[in-house]
Symmetry: D2
Subunit: 401 residues, 4 copies
């Protein structure tokens, strides 16, 4: 027991190989298609990139070893995912893109053996994609999950699900869904949710339009999904009935952190592109990168990258200790989402006209990272939850003294 | 002489009519086409919108009365342009979009009678569009105009122009170009530039690709333009030879301010959309707009809007007095570009998932306004010029005391 | 009717004379005593400075002409007060320091002829100082004035006042008090307040300790004041019974703006000191003021000064039109308090070790300006009030449509 | 080898005891004297507090075990120093205040056995205080150390030192000085400095005025010190001649980090005071701490505390590995100095009028922490050095490719 920030040689090697793989095999494809994964070929390019990742020995760093992965804990995932995130297509290549990566994590923790065989095994192997159907249009579950309105009613031998979802990442083309539905209580109640597993081709599931969002790198889009009298058998219940909110926490803490890892990689790429540009570009009788205001942006990017990484290290270590890590993951997510936005924004600014154009990847990175301040909980909701805990503790201490 | 911030009844009426026209005739078309003017029909939609503006009596508020405009000075343009800018297509409808609006301004000040008839009259009337060919790819004229590399060589009866330009707004489809070329000295020298007028169909002009930028609302794109042995007669010189940098100032100060006016309108629309959303949307047992962190964003938007407008009022008044207003226009442009960005960014954040989607105009506004912190001089260049003058004055005062 | 930002020759002359007077007669005394007015001699130095101001023809720019002042409206006060504020002792010298200046303003508007003769005349002449007794310790009137707890009970021929106040600026040495007390309702009610005038030597007034605040330039301190069975006659009522909250608004809008004017002057001095320093000081082979990061601070100060002044101009003009100007004064106050803080903070930073020392006035300015983000309503309260009005208007519009 | 963020049981116990000691024995004395260590009794209170620390087993956590300390490495110092820093007098009590703590560190690394016995032993034991005489008034060594002007000339048997220093922390009452003087080259050269040890009562040392700075908690002030023909024998050279700049780095990296540790403790106290206040204080019909804008400040403080601590952990670990850690200490220092300032500033704001008064410790904390953005290198210098390394690396990579 003593502070140690080093990685094992095996992890160091995986980091290094992931860096090389991303640079050599993934970035060229991203850049050739302007970072739009649908334009690049959708699932076809996914299959190709994933095979390349397998060949390079970097596939599925997060998946349990028995499912063909590297079995990394959260702490070790951080640097590996960051390297994959250096390209917008890197997470897809390694099979660690949202929502599949978080679904693997959750299924490994909660699914029963049959569910693991049916759903986790092919997901971890990259044979299918998945979707996590939680978010609903207003007035349903959004920043406030307790507003959950989709309802599962008990019927003979199973459940019948009705409701509307949206912003369901990866829904188009997913092989199966994890559905979050209310089995007890009313919208506004903080309990009564259950998770269900179902193949995507079950009757009663309709994947609607892709919502046109600022980001374009996620396979299968952010879709509207309707459930109309969808029947699922009793064996479809993930874990236990009415414990869905609890399980969501199992998924959400780590999923927040893996988002941070990936987007940090993207931000670092933006920074590298900008530093390369200002080190090269002449203006006002010298290099842009020797001007004080540009140096300030370079330094602030370095600070934001380092702070994001340091907060991530902390939160991941807590998660690895078995903590819920509610505060440290909220802190890391909130800081990171804003820092990543700032890093990319400064990188754009350093490159001027080139920065806002498609001639460099910065304009698209600026589009891609913006939603992260909203997805997985807006910064305001994390701040609110954090403050509530801190002020609440002070109130209790006052009552007790 | 005494502080007066009111407008004449005529101007008040024009403001009001422009607001109604934009809301009723322009916004619906913008919204129907996702704010992409090419998608909306390009010049065809321009012609239609401009006719509607003429019918509504709001066309060409800036153009001299003798050219069919309302002849407003800078102070009076501010509120009218802001109303037009409330829609991304509003400036096109009123014929006050960049670069035409600034070109009208400059031609009215510098062109000779023949040039006015040939170029200003049809431009003010909306019969043609124009382009201002100044910016060059590295290592040419960009944030540092003295790097101007395009060269005009004296030949018999005129000039022969060679060089490469890019980010030439509106070049595709322009009826004529104002070309900024070096007639003396070498790149790096702070003088020796001349402006030339030429029809767009002259031999030796090649309009290349549209640079793919974050903004999509400007007709004719931001293009690469090559001049290869382009011949222009002596009568094509705008003003006098070698005084181009001087004339550029005539154009740039006011053009900066009209940019601010238009983008301020766009930011105000973003804010209005967000306020409407948070006043309506329920969350956590009340309206979003009653939560403190949302109230803070609403208030900060109001503050940024008010401060932008107040700085604009100041700079315009100075310009109307005949001042160069170098400091006040640099201050207003720099503050405004950053404030407008913040306003739209907060508006996106207030609307959460909807904010980053195409279901509201906010995501596209966030793309549109980003480049303004770069176009017309990056904020860093304005800050640098401003500080140089202030510190320079202090040095002089020290030497004299 | 048309935008005009010029001042009359009389006002221009008063601005110029105030600038010279402050620089030549006031600043040297401030600097000699580290900006602590008690150290400089308290009321003794006040009397001396005010005589010098009379001699220079710059005394009481705000007071009605019939009371010996210059009778300036709010718009014209702005530049004059700013010049006076350039020294922390300048407002005292011109008799425009808080709270006297606001009290003159309010008495001129609300007092009856006898009250004017007894209280306004000597106050405007600088013969006495005054205090405005409104703020109370928790849980009384603070950021939330409706919590007003000090109570005035009707008795034969007058009122009997009991309660505790604090942060009563200028109380120690004041010749009279304006007391804000509840005459109806209970703490929490938004009405029922009355203002009373009383000589400071009335039985039942006890001026307690000076609260030790970051600022040291206000004569008479920020004091605790207790009222214990203080009797005031019926003639002591200022305006009408139960209309105190309403009258407070009369005072608060303009008082907010004059605070801004004065502190803007102080911020400008900080900036000037810093610019002089960086223009002079060598480092890294050149002048500090030629380094990009310093230039950025210089430019940001210029922007903040300009924006504060522009928002002030707007709010003052609205007040001069007879508007309540609730939004524009809240905006100007909130922006200004934060901008002024930033200006002084950057000025400190530019001067490094000297900046945090007593060898330059910056360290004391940083102490002096900090409380302005709290005094006269914390920024958060102004933002909240502003957002409530804006979101409230949106809700009404939705109900009506 | 794997990420570990836990402390050994011995360190955990020391953290816990330091927390209790600071709270029970130190804070009451700080609060009773308004945080001014001179007012509290100067060296007399130091002796008393240090005895109490010895009794509590928390004295000298940093000093080598053979000199009576706990021998903690940098990683383990971080949480212990933070606990001590919770009171402004805590570092003095534990004998880990600047500059003694850094001097112990440097002497332990560089001094020879005789020097250790003469200087290190009594310093580690708390028998004497010390000063590090490096900073000079303009145009000497400041943010740019290469401007070093104090000169040591070789004379028979030793050196003769002449020069002026200022901002020499703890000089008044120090038992000995470590003097930084030029032994080769000219001001502006990046080499040629040597460090010398000398008793404070040597002829030729004159300790002048205390510079009146915003902070008041450092014993012995920030003084002007003149060396006039000060003779030191050859044995006074610390390490080797002309290697002073190199040794300064040995001291500066760790010293930066221990500054961060201590000030982080102070900031945390400010935050705790504010949270306690807002959890208690009623306003607008609830607790202040339940209002959104206050929650935002609470959350932002938590984020800033966590990020500072995380960056500190990283930099300390690198230092413990024997790295120079130039980037990670610059990043941690720059981020921390600004974060700590923000934390205290928000804490002031949360407490309103109380926050800017002496009734809470916040006003004094706001004074105390401000200079940290300047001391030990202004943020701008750290950013500049950081950017230079990053952009320099990019230039090299471009040349090589």
């Amino acid at each position: 027991m003593a502070i140690d920030l080093s990685y094992s040689p095996e992890v160091e090697s995986l980091i290094e190989r992931t860096r090389a793989f991303t640079r050599d095999h993934v970035l060229p494809i991203e850049d050739a298609h302007g970072g739009d994964i649908a334009v690049a070929g959708g699932d076809e390019i996914r299959v190709k990139l994933q095979q390349a990742a397998r060949d390079a020995g970097v596939f599925a760093p997060h998946a349990p070893i028995e499912y063909g992965g590297h079995g990394l804990n959260m702490s070790d995932r951080a640097p590996v995912f960051e390297e994959a995130g250096y390209s917008l297509f890197g997470p897809t290549a390694l099979n660690i893109a949202a929502p599949d990566e978080g679904n693997v994590h959750m299924l490994a923790h909660i699914a029963d053996p049959e569910q693991k065989e049916q759903y986790l095994a092919p997901l971890a192997a990259g044979d299918v994609r998945s979707a996590f159907a939680m978010t609903e249009p207003a007035p349903g579950a959004g920043a406030d999950p307790s507003a959950l309105s989709t309802r599962a009613s008990k019927v003979d031998g199973g459940w019948r699900i009705n409701g509307k979802k949206w912003f369901i990442t990866g829904a188009d083309g997913a092989g199966f869904f994890i559905i979050f539905a209310r089995t007890a209580g009313e919208p506004g109640d903080r309990g009564g949710a259950t998770m269900f597993l179902t193949p995507a081709d079950a009757a009663g599931i309709r994947v609607g339009r892709h919502i046109d969002t600022l980001d374009k790198s996620m396979l299968g889009g952010h879709c509207e999904v309707d459930f109309e009298d969808l029947f699922v058998p009793d064996s479809a219940v993930l874990g236990e009935v009415d414990r869905g909110f609890e399980y969501a926490q199992v998924r959400l803490g780590p999923a927040r952190m893996t988002h941070v890892m990936r987007w940090l990689g993207a931000a670092r790429r933006g920074h590298d592109v900008a530093v390369d540009y200002v080190a090269r570009r002449e203006a006002f009788g010298g290099k842009l990168g020797d001007l004080g205001m540009v140096q300030q942006m370079v330094a602030d990017n370095e600070i934001d990258i380092a702070a994001t990484r340091a907060l991530l290290t902390r939160a991941c270590w807590e998660l690895d200790q078995g903590d819920k890590a509610a505060n440290s993951t909220a802190i890391a997510k909130t800081f990171a989402a804003e820092a990543i936005f700032r890093i990319v924004d400064r990188s754009v600014q350093m490159c001027g006209g080139m920065g806002v154009s498609g001639d460099l990847p910065l304009a698209r990175l600026s589009r891609e990272v913006r939603p992260f301040r909203v997805y997985d909980g807006p910064s305001e909701v994390h701040r609110w939850a954090l403050a509530k805990r801190v002020v609440g503790a002070a109130k209790r201490a006052q009552r007790e003294s």
